[in-house]
Symmetry: C2
């Protein structure tokens, strides 16, 4: 198996540009072998989720961040293609509504943390609040640093109360984004996915890349590390994230609770 080390953000001197979005270390064998592998990982993830539920104590939070078309939806569709909706929930965070803006930016996130035994996936997250306002110039450097610290505190709370936090930045090239946006325009059946505002954000590509680099370096911690996922190849993205989740859940050493001996010999009538 390929190593995650190179893609794990280890603080200080992290450079996003040093990671090629076209990398594909987790793509092994031919296309059929890769499909089979994903199917196998998705099945294993389902088994591990069942154990997480049986244990009923800890939780898993998967945070997905990335530019438009980086494949957050596709990741959820394929990585969890074999997992029951009983045990996996998704929260998609959009631009905050009035109710959400009337509270601090972590309020809506806290309201959607996973329950015991559950895997929760955040499609975008509290990280939008250190990306968008910074790129748009709504907050200054001091506020940005304050938010980094608040986010670290929040994630430490989650970790210390039984949540394993996995954070993935889906890393695509500007060229691949152009191709994917263009396809949404050119293919009539895909056009409903296209939003003109995506083009405005695209114009600020470099500023967003820089904001990501800063945010990832500032908030990758031992209890809530960031991984950069080369995502120009959709299959690579899916395989790498599935592999990372399986590895993480295996590392939790999940087990069915011990059988209550007081029920020995009980007969149902």
């Amino acid at each position: 198996m390929a190593s995650f080390k190179k893609y794990r953000v280890d603080g200080g001197k992290f450079s996003l540009a040093s990671i090629d979005p076209a990398d594909s270390p987790f793509l092994e064998g031919d296309e059929q072998a890769q499909r089979d592998r994903l199917e196998q990982l998705a099945g294993e993830l389902d088994d591990l989720q069942n154990l997480l539920h049986a244990e009923g104590r800890r939780k898993v939070l998967l945070v997905l961040q990335g530019m438009d078309t980086s494949g957050k939806d596709g990741t959820i569709r394929w990585v969890f293609s074999r997992t029951s909706p009983l045990g996996v929930r998704v929260t998609a965070f959009k631009a905050p509504n009035d109710d959400e803006r009337a509270r601090d930016y972590l309020w809506r996130c806290h309201a959607n943390v996973p329950r015991s035994g559950e895997i929760m996936v955040w499609n975008r997250s509290h990280y939008e609040d250190v990306l968008v306002p910074w790129v748009e110039g709504w907050i200054d450097k001091a506020e940005l640093r304050r938010r980094y610290a608040q986010i670290q505190d929040f994630e430490r709370l989650l970790a210390e109360t039984g949540t394993v936090v996995v954070k993935c930045m889906l890393h695509i090239s500007k060229k691949v984004q152009r191709e994917r946006l263009q396809a949404r325009i050119d293919e009539p059946a895909k056009r409903w996915k296209f939003q003109r505002s995506d083009l405005d954000v695209r114009k600020k590509w470099a500023a967003y890349q820089h904001a990501y680099e800063q945010a990832l370096a500032a908030t990758s911690s031992r209890h809530a590390p960031w991984h950069v996922i080369p995502a120009d190849s959709k299959r690579h993205r899916n395989l790498m994230i599935a592999q990372l989740l399986v590895k993480t859940l295996r590392g939790m050493e999940l087990a069915v609770p011990p059988a209550d001996p007081s029920l020995d010999g009980l007969v149902v009538v």
Copy 2:
């Protein structure tokens, strides 16, 4: 394909006892053929859910009711084995907590109706509030009738605002429940699923069957019909519900929204 007609509750003179929990009209061919069929239906359900999401207008609510061990969790696991957690959400209703008891019994249900484009599955539902309190003697006949009417009003609101409501009663025999509860006791790896309170409810089997019969007859309507699902066979239960959902979603004539012509020729730079 087998017909749903016999299993659809059509009001007045409905008899639950006349439906054999061991019936299996939707089981065709050998075991492998049945597994393949479920896999195919699960895949088709995924395609239909994608269209529901693309349309972004209507919603689907699947209500699952049934005695303990009737297979509500298993149904969700297998029928939605190919559907993304992006488009299917599950709400499990347990005994109401303090917050919920402080409101009317439909409050927590209304808070969990599906969003546009979404399939929501209720694992138990507002129907618990016309089953448990009635069997336990906490409400009288007048209050029971009032609740039937309130439930019909609530479901009409959902239907009139774009929600297709599918209600399934998972119908098992008392004998099969005994076998399944006993297995939870006898198999150490399953024992964590067993609750002693299940045995107390089991003692009131006949009263619950009668309460179900009354509730189904009183609340099956054109806009929110009840189906009784013979569920002694798990595979039959899964196949019948998958088939019912596929038929229902096909009947909605879902389609991708028309392509916005104002985007013709737009080039992404």
